[in-house]
């Protein structure tokens, strides 16, 4: 039995597990469970007051984008992935991921409700700001296709639609767009601003890293199981989608940084976007497109290393729950 199918009748019994990677990701995702209210934002409010208008704008831009798009990912999963997966272990993971997206949305709600920012503006930005609306429309197009009656997952074209949606939400939205936003979000903490917001972002990034692991495993599995997808034209189409996404992100980042803030400007962030895009391309088996260096070397400290938390001063975000799950009982 292949991983794709109409998951409605089959897949009510977990064992035997066919795709162990999905099971492993599920276990880790459960261990990663966290809640936004574990982090107190009080100290960040004082930082927020000190920030420049350009910095506040960038932050607002970021949150305004993340907030609705966490839910957009859920739609992509609910309409475009879950119904076409045959493996119950895949369903388990997707269910956990969907809860995580909900939790991320509530995290941004928590931030929006705590910081003294214009909430109406934040909520309407994804419609009012053209560069944000364009990204959203791009995603929605693929999701819509997945809901149409004419989609037949057993055909090559149906499988290609599945892959298109997967590339759109997982590689592009989560793997490139979100990741460039994470870099911007963490940059504040490197300047000793919004440290607690940074802790929330640590958790979100930890979750998203698993989402990407799941996505790439799913893509590789589908490609491996369906030789009919290995055609050059389709591959070029996918590559084109990703490169188009870079253009959209560049426009979005120019709106985020009309001028620049300490340590960051639109060109800098867009170079990072290109750096990330090359990584995603290579993971998919493509040649890199841009060959640029990572301008944000400081991400080594912000994200890449094990962190030793002064737990009196900062919430330790490295913990995992369910110790007993590791026990053989």
């Amino acid at each position: 039995m292949a991983i794709l199918g109409s998951g409605v009748q089959d897949g009510l019994l977990l064992k035997p597990v066919t795709y162990q990677w999905a099971m492993d990701l599920y276990d880790q995702a459960v261990a990663n469970t966290w809640f936004p209210n574990e982090i107190q934002l009080g100290e960040d409010l004082a930082d927020f007051k000190k920030m420049t208008e350009d910095e506040k704008h960038a932050l607002l831009h970021l949150i305004s984008y993340f907030n609705p798009n966490e839910l957009l990912v859920n739609k992509a999963l609910a309409f475009g992935v879950y119904p076409y997966i045959n493996a119950p272990e895949g369903h388990l993971y997707l269910a956990k991921q969907m809860w995580e997206e909900a939790n991320h949305c509530m995290t941004f709600e928590y931030i929006l409700e705590t910081f003294p920012i214009d909430r109406d503006k934040a909520y309407s930005a994804h419609v009012d700001v053209p560069s944000m609306a364009a990204k959203e429309e791009f995603e929605s197009k693929f999701i819509k296709r997945m809901t149409e009656d004419t989609l037949d997952i057993s055909t090559t074209e149906g499988k290609k639609d599945f892959i298109r949606n997967l590339i759109a939400y997982n590689i592009i939205l989560e793997g490139i767009w979100f990741y460039s936003g994470f870099m911007v979000a963490l940059s504040f903490r490197q300047r000793n601003l919004l440290r607690n917001f940074g802790s929330l972002m640590d958790w979100i990034i930890r979750d998203e890293s698993l989402h990407l692991q799941f996505g790439i495993n799913l893509i590789l599995t589908v490609l491996e199981e369906n030789e009919d997808l290995q055609d050059e034209e389709f591959a070029e189409e996918i590559r084109g989608m990703i490169l188009h996404a870079v253009e959209m992100e560049e426009a979005y980042n120019r709106d985020m940084f009309p001028r620049g803030i300490l340590g960051l400007n639109a060109d800098y962030v867009n170079q990072y976007v290109k750096y990330l895009t090359d990584r995603r391309l290579e993971e998919l088996g493509f040649e890199p497109e841009f060959n640029v260096a990572n301008p944000a070397k400081w991400m080594a400290a912000a994200n890449d290393t094990l962190q030793l938390v002064n737990f009196f001063e900062q919430q330790n975000t490295s913990y995992e729950v369910n110790a007993q799950a590791t026990k053989t009982s």
Binding site: N192, L284, G285, W298, N310, F311, Y319, A323
Partner: protein
């Protein structure tokens, strides 16, 4: 080539792709609001100056300048420009620690300019330091910030003449930031008033106020602390010399079971928090939930809601306007509500029954450990029914506990619960693994080893688990801390014992001064401080020196080294205090203390052993002439306690060394502190790798492996052994180090534990081992995360990782043969459908080429794979260790009698616990040859010779230990020439002890 040309060249070089070359359109907004064109030359000169004296000055300057250029934008302010330049320097530390010096100097230049004004040369800077000093003191006094006595008692010109700003180069970037954000004073508008040397001098003065020669003493203190030989603890650094000298670090209190006292405790917590102290608070006495309240014929809500109330209080009162309060709750594990206590730090559940800010620790008896070993039942009681238990320790506790158990079984207790002791023990450790709380502390080892319990029982330790002082309704015990910085005493590969002795003696004097100078807003703490004069001198930088000496943390040589160092520090601290008693008198509660009976800390190991009937498995080697000291302390000592090893998490940053006895967290890692997130690269390792000429080759691999040197290719084995990270070390090593040091320490040690293995059975064994070893307390448990976020700055290719490890592909077993490497669209790229993934790799030219190209870096990529082994590692992590058996699932209370475990006695966690029990009960203590007898000896005729012979058993580290036998004859007055120290510990959350 000029710097600017260099800069342009570098820019051109790095402008692959999209990097915008900064063009002429950029303007800088000056402080007065005017704009001027960006002057690259000026910035470059500043960077160049900050790199002065470094081997790669020009290259460093070029790199910082070019990376700064891409972050610029039109309208950037001069302040932002300064900050951006520092940020760029800092982000290069991962490749070369020299950049840390550049960043630190750039930051200090900003501080100098703000505090002292502009300068051009080093000489001008030196003169400014001196010229501005008296004015700084006077202005700050006028503003009400500093103590007026700083002007009245001191010769400010003489002090100014001693200021040496070149010592600032001892400070790393994170140390400078920490000092600025935490310790230096600012005016009402948050403008900095101090440069680093002013800060040290202000602290030195603030601790010499009670001296006959304040200026002379302050100079001695300044000399020691400004050279980082020892450091006072946080609260002292923050408040010394200020108009609010709350200098003590730790406060330890017990809540009584009445509403008045609960309310008073809330009040006291607020005041102590305001003064920056860290707090330990025992709640064991509070009656349990549902316990009757006679006055209004209702029932109690138990201790949990009160703990939540205090937890909120910590958030409400900020310390210094910046940090929230810090407190640890202690409870004994026989309390009926203990299972709710365990849940206090869970991240879900009723928020009113959680303490998100406060920490928790459990106060464990020998009785419990023995019942765990013997797999017996454990009973929980309402303290309202068993009010005497909290006052009893050791065998007396056991006897009384047995009586209550008998009453319970006879149906004569109003309420109780019963469970297997092992079941509760496991619950504690499962909670510890998931929430890092509660910390395990052993009350009987603490009480039976104390020399200061003549005034009552010790009911808890403190926030950081290194304090052991008694308390009651009239006494909130107080401790005052400082730490000797070990690496400063390592000269040319040898420990400079004379310098160490000077540091210790001066630190003790300064701590004793502190007792008289500090002010508290809580009368009970003021009282306890005056009556006991308790101080705690510790050490930091242990791992730093083992690395420099080429010793592995988990080696016998390292164990002997810490044993020897702490013996030396303890000896001289006690001796200094005994000398102070002759100068200033003994502390008021001296009569009846262990000291007054001629005991020293080492002597109480045997007492613990005798009382619990289980050996303390630590060696009993001694090296110094303790008998002389025994006689001396019998005649008087100035301080109820002398030693405690604090975490030094913050002052360790200022000192630029590894905190306390902690191992290297990793060889490259980040610190998340209230001052931000900082990358730390182990400079000892970098030096060693540079000496081998391989640092540049391996640095990316090291980062990809998140600092695990064993995953880096081509590193000699002896370096891999010396540079193990905290998670690679056998955790028993942490306990062996603590046990050796604990021999000499009258209080305790903040012993952090680091674990990678999540097997709860192994944790049960590990913590039982700690108790056996006579370790008094453990502190925070750091679990290695199994999964971390995708890395940004090193090459990552998840597909390659999946292919290489097979770990994320569950099909390995079934589908391996059919599979071949998966390569996404790679198959399509080069041909039509036919050239699919399964095609032979050799035929796949582009792919093969890519792989060949990556040959050097495939290994680099391998590292992240195993680092993020989260997934692949699962099987192993979850796999039952074959021999270990299960303790039945945790169930509640009385059901225990029927648990299946009874049916399978053979399955008892025998592998773990019974071996402990076997050791514990089988070995007769007297079989250990080195163990001194239970009662303390009359001084043997030739003790020195005897001791040396025992130490001869020690391994070959003798070379570096050679100075040890130069035992000081107790009463020397060695405080000559070299100034001395001050050394408190830190403030903070434990500012107290950090």
């Amino acid at each position: 080539m000029t710097i600017t040309e260099n800069n342009a060249a570098a820019q051109a070089a790095t402008t692959t792709g999209a990097v915008p070359v900064v063009a002429g359109g950029i303007h800088v907004t000056k402080r007065d609001g005017t704009r001027e064109p960006y002057d690259a030359d000026r910035i470059n000169k500043a960077i160049e100056r900050a790199a002065a004296g470094l081997p790669d000055q020009i290259a460093i300057t070029t790199q910082v300048a070019s990376e700064l250029a891409i972050t610029l934008f039109d309208g950037i302010t001069t302040e932002q420009l300064d900050e951006a330049a520092i940020g760029v320097a800092v982000q290069n530390v991962k490749d070369d620690p020299q950049f840390d010096m550049v960043a630190a100097r750039l930051l200090r230049k900003v501080i100098y300019k703000r505090v002292l004004g502009g300068y051009d040369t080093e000489l001008e800077l030196a003169l400014l330091h001196q010229a501005r000093f008296p004015g700084y003191i006077r202005d700050a006094i006028e503003e009400g910030l500093l103590d007026v006595r700083l002007q009245e008692l001191f010769d400010l010109d003489a002090l100014a003449a001693a200021l040496d700003h070149t010592r600032d180069d001892l400070l790393k970037y994170i140390g400078t930031v920490t000092m600025r954000n935490r310790y230096m004073i600012t005016d009402r508008h948050r403008k900095s008033l101090e440069v680093p040397q002013y800060f040290w001098m202000r602290v030195a003065m603030g601790l010499a106020l009670n001296e006959a020669d304040p200026t002379g003493t302050a100079l001695k203190f300044y000399e020691k602390i400004s050279t980082l030989d020892y450091l006072p603890a946080g609260s002292t650094l923050v408040n010394a010399g200020t108009s609010y000298p709350q200098l003590s670090n730790c406060f330890v209190m017990q809540m009584e079971d009445d509403i008045e006292h609960i309310a008073k405790s809330v009040r006291d917590v607020m005041w102590l928090t305001k003064g920056t102290g860290g707090i330990g608070l025992s709640v064991t006495k509070l009656r349990s939930e549902g316990s009757p309240i006679r006055s209004n014929n209702t029932t109690s809500t138990g201790p949990i809601p009160f703990m939540h109330t205090i937890d909120s209080t910590l958030r409400a009162v900020s310390r210094g306007g910046k940090k929230f309060g810090a407190l640890a709750f202690y409870m004994e594990n026989w309390h009926l509500d203990f299972h709710q206590f365990l849940d206090l730090r869970q991240n879900s559940g009723d928020p009113y029954r959680r303490t998100r800010t406060a920490n928790t620790a459990v106060w464990i008896s020998d009785e419990f450990m023995k019942r765990v070993a013997a797999d017996q039942d454990w009973y929980l009681f309402d303290p309202a029914e068993t009010p005497d238990l909290v006052e009893l320790v050791g065998s007396e506790f056991s006897a009384r506990y047995a009586e209550y158990v008998a009453l319970a079984e006879a149906g004569k207790m109003r309420t109780f619960r019963k469970m297997r002791a092992r079941e509760q023990y496991k619950q504690i450790l499962v909670t510890l693994q998931t929430t890092s709380h509660p910390w395990l502390t052993w009350k009987d080892t603490i009480n039976n080893r104390a020399l200061n319990t003549n005034t009552g029982t010790i009911h808890l330790s403190n926030l950081c688990t290194e304090i052991c002082l008694p308390q009651d309704r009239d006494n909130i015990s107080v401790c005052n801390l400082a730490s000797v910085n070990l690496p400063q005493h390592l000269v040319d590969g040898k420990i400079d014992w004379d310098r160490m002795e000077q540091s210790v003696r001066l630190a003790v004097r300064q701590l004793d001064n502190l007792v008289d100078i500090t002010l508290s807003s809580v009368p009970e703490s003021e009282f306890a401080n005056q009556e006991n004069r308790a101080v705690g001198l510790g050490v930091m930088g242990f791992t730093d020196i083992t690395e420099r000496l080429g010793l592995a943390y988990e080696s016998e040589e390292a164990y002997d080294l810490i044993d020897q160092i702490v013996e030396f520090v303890s000896y001289h601290a006690i001796d200094a205090s005994a000398d102070l008693a002759r100068e200033r008198g003994s502390y008021n509660n001296f009569a009846g203390s262990g000291w007054s009976q001629g005991k020293v800390p080492f002597d109480t190991i045997a007492e613990v052993e005798a009382d619990r009937g289980v050996p303390v498995t630590v060696n009993r080697v001694t090296r110094l002439d303790w008998d002389t000291l025994r006689d001396k302390v019998k005649g008087g000592i100035r301080n109820a306690t002398l030693m405690a090893v604090a975490p030094t998490a913050s002052i360790g940053l200022v000192a630029g060394t590894t905190p306390g006895f902690d191992p290297q967290f990793s060889q490259i890692f980040s610190r998340n502190t209230s001052s931000g997130k900082f990358l730390e690269v182990n400079t000892n390792l970098v030096k060693d790798l540079q000496a081998l000429g391989i640092w540049d080759e391996v640095k990316d691999q090291l980062l990809a492996a998140q600092g695990d040197l064993s995953k880096v290719d081509g590193v000699p084995q002896h370096l891999v052994d010396v540079y193990k990270t905290s998670f690679q070390l056998d955790p028993h090593a942490f306990l062996e180090v603590a046990a050796r040091a604990q021999k000499w320490i009258d209080q305790a040690i903040s012993r952090n534990i680091y674990l990678e293995d999540r097997d709860v059975d192994k944790m049960m064994e590990l913590y039982a081992f700690a108790w056996e070893k006579g370790v008094k307390t453990t502190y925070y448990l750091h679990m290695k995360p199994r999964h971390t976020a995708e890395q940004s700055t090193v090459r990552v290719n998840k597909t390659e990782n999946i292919n290489r490890t097979g770990s994320a592909s569950g099909r390995a077993a079934g589908g391996a043969a059919s599979g071949g490497a998966r390569k996404g669209f790679g198959g399509a790229r080069k041909g039509f459908g036919g050239a699919k993934a399964a095609a032979a790799p050799a035929a796949d030219a582009p792919v093969a080429e890519a792989q060949a190209e990556e040959a050097p870096s495939t290994t680099a990529a391998a590292a992240p794979a195993s680092a993020s082994r989260g997934f692949g590692g699962f099987g192993g992590a979850k796999k039952p260790a074959p021999a270990t058996t299960e303790i039945p699932a945790v169930t509640d209370g009385e059901a225990v009698a029927t648990t299946p475990e009874e049916k399978a006695p053979a399955a008892a966690p025998a592998s773990v616990l019974s071996s402990i029990a076997a050791q514990a009960f089988a070995t007769a203590p007297q079989e250990q040859p080195e163990v001194p007898p239970v009662t303390l000896p009359e001084p043997a005729p030739e003790p020195a010779a005897q001791q040396l012979s025992t130490s001869a058993a020690a391994p070959s580290s003798a070379a570096l230990l050679d100075v040890v036998e130069t035992v000081a004859s107790g009463d020397t007055e060695m405080i000559g020439g070299v100034a001395c120290p001050v050394d408190p510990m830190e403030r903070l959350q434990c500012e107290s002890c950090q």
